[in-house]
Amino acid sequence: MVSRDQIESVLGRVRPMMQADGGDIELVDVQGNSAHVRLTGMCAGCPSAHMTLYMGVEMALRDEIKDFEELVVV
């Protein structure tokens, strides 16, 4: 079971840069070994931002948290 803290610590690394640009990545929920996140602010509506961040963040989470399964953008 993956903890909220573990996920937040990974998200926290890129968060300051996103916030500097008027955006954020919000951890909505943790279900089992998967995380539900939401992009907010400037890049929220951009399909490219969803793709680039979503995939890269998922990879980073899988790299750093052994049991991490899936990132779901809600």
Binding site: R13, M17, A20, C46, L53, G56, A60
Partner: protein, 347 residues
Amino acid sequence: MRAPGSFSPDDIVVGHSARMRAIFDFVKVVSRSDSSVIITGESGTGKEVIANLLHHSSSRRHQPFVAVSCALFSENLIETELFGHERGAFTGAIKDKPGRFEMAQGGTLFLDDIDDVPLSMQVKLLRAIQNRTVERVGGTRSISVNVRVITGSKRDLKKMVAEGNFREDLFYRLNVLPIVLPPLRERREDIPLLSDFFFRRFSRARGIETPAISPAVRYAFSRYRWPGNVRELENACERIVQTCTCGTVRTGCVAAGVLFGACDPVPAASTAELSAGEAQSISLDDRLRDVESNLITWALKVSDGNKSKAAELLSIKRSTLGDRIARCGLMDTGVAEAADVAVGVPA
């Protein structure tokens, strides 16, 4: 992208760092000669660009420029590729085929990845360069060739010679005029210039306005290590131009790998693990720069971006601080907070 043949020296951006300016000036000098040039640099640092520039600044510029990567071919193929073959030399050789040496007749031959040429082939290469003649595979006729040979290598050939993986005689034949290209992370001050250039070029190709770049993106670009060097930066810019939907490049447009890479805490030099048992190479310059940029970021943060105060804190002159900020590729303004967390300095 540049199509072969459409190369113009005005089309390239080398950068304004001291090292690149020195290389640029050196290229101008050596382009007048016919001696061998060897360009050493990590993958993506622009070896072929420099080779092209050399050719196009030389008196051979109206003759062909032939570039070939020696890593592309298997041992047997390199020979036919470079020297050509006669009809019937081997199964499938249905007609005479000139090699790259002949194709570059009168011009310049750029042999990239020379460090991947097997030892057995190095002898033949040495003969060809030394005697200025080639023999096609399966042929007996010596064909004289007038080419200027430029080689590219991603490894240090001198080291390879010491290890017995590269022939010393060929090394000295090639290593007349050496040019060493620095990796992008050692000339971070060129990143803004290069990225602006790529953004402009890809936007023009796509027929859109050049997007504005947010300070956070500039910061991420300046911190990331760019292991793939200028080529990686070029690809990152292309990808962003192709995917940006709002006209401003923000962190959301940047591949998360670059963002995470830019945020990776830099191992402090004092705490870096250096085991005595392991002969692992580290870059002193990289480490020193990391320490430098950490301290500058900290000073700017605690002085609220006031450079005079920051310079005072660091016991350096205000003007020196400006130079060092540029050298470390740190941003002048903006995202002080991001900088703080990203490099993990004590506030």
